[in-house]
Symmetry: C2
Subunit: 139 residues, 2 copies
Amino acid sequence: MAASNVEKTADLLHSAAIRLLRYVRKEDAASGITGAQLSVLSVLVFAGPQTLGALAQAEQVRPPTMSQLVGELERRGLAQRRPLDRRSIQVSVTERGRRLLEAGRRRRLARLTASLSHLPAGKLALLQEAAELMLKAAS
Amino acid sequence: MAASNVEKTADLLHSAAIRLLRYVRKEDAASGITGAQLSVLSVLVFAGPQTLGALAQAEQVRPPTMSQLVGELERRGLAQRRPLDRRSIQVSVTERGRRLLEAGRRRRLARLTASLSHLPAGKLALLQEAAELMLKAAS
DNA sequence: AAAAATAGTTAGGTAGCCTAACAGTGTGAT
DNA sequence: ATCACACTGTTAGGCTACCTAACTATTTTT
């Protein structure tokens, strides 16, 4: 590999992210809602109603992907489209979506939370800072 | 949310992992090899030849998934199956696979490496430790 | 009013993952 | 020795998350 320290860090993070997502994804079946859908709901809840395009940008996917995700959320009564003008739409979460968000997210994160729960506060703080650095790096 | 500190950490890490993978995945098209395939090659290079089942366990996927991944790698001349006894096979990387690993991984990680390159050594160390904690948590 | 930019959808395709069902091979108890 | 059981891997079929290309329909700009 002959990797520099930066490359080594990137590599480790990459592997860690892959494993972590595989790990939490195992809970998706029970939850009835997928990770991507959960993530969209989360944005809607915390950042409020959004146009589809804005949502796509926030989630870093292409509009068709978001269109499909929102379609699925709508089909399940978790989100709704509402026309803003006649070409753009506003997507917002429904009450049912809001409720399901909490349950679904908790389930998905439960394993992870359990895995982390034995860590001392210092390590948790470290992980939080790392997560923030990762979010910045990936934007 | 009313989340405890542990839950908050789990949540942040979860989001960060999602974003990070979406971010690096953008390089896959150029690389000609996908993240999952890359990951399998990586195991083969660093841990040596493996049975298919062992590989599946190492990568935390089901045997059919690994069978398909190895099939694709073999079709591209990057790995090869060899019978051990008559029901188990040994998968090993080819020279071509070894070469491609380096190129592919570098390409996939290039963006991430670039994003991290401005960080001081201390933050890199923090990220490395975090990655190791994540790997441990997700096993 | 025509051209250009913008917003979203539809169509079609790929990769990664899964479970269920199956075939063949090894192994251990009787 | 054999026969049931466990193990290893593959095939078949299906789902979700992505993508690009092409299209429709609306603003906006000139």
